[in-house]
Every structure is written in structure tokens, then in C-alpha cells.
Amino acid sequence: MAEEPLVRWDWIGRNWPNIQGLLVDHVVMALVPVVIGLLIALPLGLAGARWRWLYQPTVGVMNVIYSLPSLAVFIVLIPITGLATRETVMVPLTFYAMAVLIPAVVDGLTSVPDHVRQSAVAMGFTPLRRLLRVELPIAVPVVLAGLRVAAVSSISLVSVGALVGRGGLGYLFIDGWQRQFYTPIVVGIVLTVALAAAADLLLVLAQRLLTPWSRARRTA
């Protein structure tokens, strides 16, 4: 065991097609929940920013959901969504993403300065146009900051699903543990971190594209 190297490159070469499949599965299970979570969080966040009395209870419920351990939720869901299915992993991850994104959307929208909103009204913007052309663009940096946290934690949480039979790259941890073999574990950790870094980088780039004014201000 002592002579076992941390990484056996030939194993990676021979198993690359398998690893690729796990990687794709991992990406789907991690990112679909974030996208669905965002689609649900946008209207709920709008409602929360518009009717403040709605916001506190929503955040309370989301905090409770967020504190539920992922493994516990996966297991409770098995009778409903099935053992080793993508859904068992994706349903809780969607709720975790919502728990991060709803406050981000509300904070983003309430960060719009009042005089900006009033200028838009004075310029004759209808409420919908004001929302789409003024308020949402100003909220972008805060929402994207939430999106970065949601994406990275989603990517790292998927692997826990391996304990209930479907964990993308997490399968490599189980495989390595059962065979007392380092290489799959190292590959799994490296790929998970690389995936998270790539998602984070893409979101930072998206922010630069979506908010050109923040760069203009800095160079001026």
C-alpha cells in the first residue's frame, strides 16, 4: 500500500470514457437545479421585494430548508423519486439554490436607488419596462454573486449523492474507497474543483458582459 502512487496516469487513460460520462452526469445534476432555482427565485424575489411582509416568512422557510443535510433529504426522497435517479439529487439541490438566490434577487432589487426608479417613472417607463430595462440590470451584480455561490456549492454537493447511488464524479470516491485506490479519488476531487472554478469564471465573465457600465466607471 505504501508504494501505491497518488495518481496512476495509465488508469486515467484507460478509464477516460467512463470519467467523461460521470463528468457530464455531474454537470447536468449540478447545473440544472441552479437554472431551475433561478427561474423560480426570480418571480418569488420580485414578489418579496414588492411586498416586504412576504419576504421574512419566505426567508425563514428557505433558511430551514437550507439547514437540512443533503444526505438526509436524498434519503427521505428515495421512496418518491427512486434510488439512484438524477431526480433524487436534483430536487434538493434546486431548493438549496433557491435558498441562496431568493435573498440575492430581493437584495439586488432593493439595491436600486430610489432616485433611479423615480427617474425611470418620470421618463414614462411602464412598470414592466422599468423592471426589465432599469431595475433588473442594476440588480445583476448582486444576483450573479448569489448565482456563483449557488453554482459552486451545487457542484460540490452532487458528489454526496454517490452514497445513494447517483453522484456524478462522487462515484469515483466510492470506487476508490472500496478498492483502497487513490487515483479515482484524486481525479474526482481535481475535476470537481476544476468544474466549480470553470462555472465561477463563466459567471464572472457573464457579469462583465451584462454590466458594461461598471467597467466604464472604473476606467473613467
Binding site: L71, I75, G176
Partner: protein, 223 residues
């Protein structure tokens, strides 16, 4: 649902080395020690970076990278490398999990204190350390507490995974239940971990009410 009731009403589950009290204590031991170690590392570092502004970018970038580390992978790798003689192999991934939220929130909390407040404290003749201790930390406390709460919840949730590599804690009910197809035990363990996480969440809320100055939490309205 009946399974869960059976699990909790079975007296065998309430005593002995496999009983709920023993497993709960083990769980609290892993979680408590990990959180304490993480606080010892992250709190001073976060205060120092927030106060001096040195190394902020590096600390935040590495904290974000650490967030992406999959705990299960880290755990199995460390246990394979070190063996399961002690609880140290469990503590390393749990500490790695708890440091980022504490560090980032402490730093952000200190850095986001109104600069006027900081200047006023210096103007009153306080020294750097006094400004930090008497003005910046009390003002930043809600955010620092948020970081601690997030870290505590994540550690309590994730300590469950320790059972997979043969260690104790509430995760034993889940992992053993899955292995032996004893579904009541699995669900019962899941319910216990979820309850513990909720209690931690509520506990931190209460502690925060006592620790945070009424002026900062705006429970005291200045007229």
C-alpha cells in the same frame, strides 16, 4: 411514516454503543471540535485581513476554491492515507468546510463597517486594537455570527459522511441502514441529523440576540 415511529419507539435504539445518545454525542464531538478549530484559524485571520486590508484577495480566492472541495472525496482520501485510528482524518475535511464561511463573513463584516464610524473611533483617541475590539467587531457581529452559523450547520450536516468511512456519529444509522436495507434506521438517522441542524440554526439565532448590541441589530430605535 410508521417506520420512523417504530425506529424512535424501539428501546434498543436508545441505549448501548449503537444507541441514539452515544451516536449523538459522537456527532457533537466531531462537529464541535471541527468548528472550534475552524474558528481558531478563521476568526483571527478574518479580523486581521479585514482590519489591515492585507492579503484580502488571496484569502477570498482561496476560501472560494475551498468551498468547491467535495467533502466526501477529501474524507475518503485522507482516511486512506492516514488510517482510521483517530478522529483526525474526519476533522481535516470538516475544518476545511467550516473555515471559508467564517473567514469570508468576518472579513466582509469588518471591511463593510461604515468608514465614518472607524474614523470617529480613531478621532476619539482609540488605538488600532481598541478600534477593532470596541467598534469594528461589535458592529460586524451580525455578519460574523452569520458566518459561524453557516459553518456550524454545514459541519453538523456533513459530519454524517464520517460514518461512510467507518466512524461513528448519527451518520451510522443512515449508512448502516442503507447497507443492510434497514430503511427505518436510514430514515430515522436522516430525521435525527435534520433535527440537529435545525436546533443548531435556532440556537445560533438565540445566541445572536444576546450577543449583538441592540443598537447594531436595530432592536433599539434611536429617536
Amino acid at each position: 411514516m410508521n417506520w420512523v415511529i417504530d425506529f424512535f419507539t424501539n428501546p434498543d435504539n436508545w441505549s448501548g454503543p449503537d444507541g441514539i445518545p452515544t451516536r449523538l454525542l459522537e456527532h457533537l464531538e466531531f462537529s464541535g471540535i471541527s468548528l472550534l478549530l475552524a474558528m481558531l484559524i478563521a476568526l483571527p485571520l478574518g479580523l486581521w485581513i479585514g482590519h489591515t486590508g492585507k492579503g484580502a484577495l488571496f484569502a477570498i480566492l482561496s476560501a472560494n476554491a475551498a468551498r468547491a472541495l467535495p467533502t466526501l472525496g477529501l474524507l475518503v482520501l485522507i482516511v486512506l492515507l492516514m488510517g482510521v485510528g483517530t478522529i483526525v482524518p474526519v476533522l481535516i475535511p470538516l475544518v476545511a468546510l467550516a473555515v471559508p464561511p467564517i473567514l469570508v463573513n468576518t472579513y466582509e463584516g469588518i471591511r463593510n463597517v461604515d468608514p465614518d464610524l472607524r474614523d470617529a473611533a480613531y478621532g476619539m483617541g482609540l488605538r488600532g486594537g481598541q478600534v477593532l475590539g470596541r467598534v469594528l467587531v461589535p458592529t460586524a457581529l451580525p455578519l460574523i455570527m452569520l458566518g459561524l452559523r453557516v459553518a456550524a450547520i454545514q459541519v453538523v450536516s456533513t459530519a454524517t459522511v464520517a460514518a461512510y468511512v467507518g466512524l461513528g456519529g448519527l451518520g451510522r444509522f443512515i449508512v448502516d441502514g442503507l447497507a443492510t436495507k434497514d430503511f427505518p434506521s436510514t430514515i430515522g438517522g436522516a430525521v435525527l441529523v435534520a433535527l440537529l441542524a435545525l436546533i443548531v440554526q435556532l440556537g445560533f439565532g438565540l445566541v445572536q440576540r444576546f450577543l449583538v448590541s441592540p443598537g447594531v441589530s436595530q432592536r433599539l430605535t434611536i429617536r
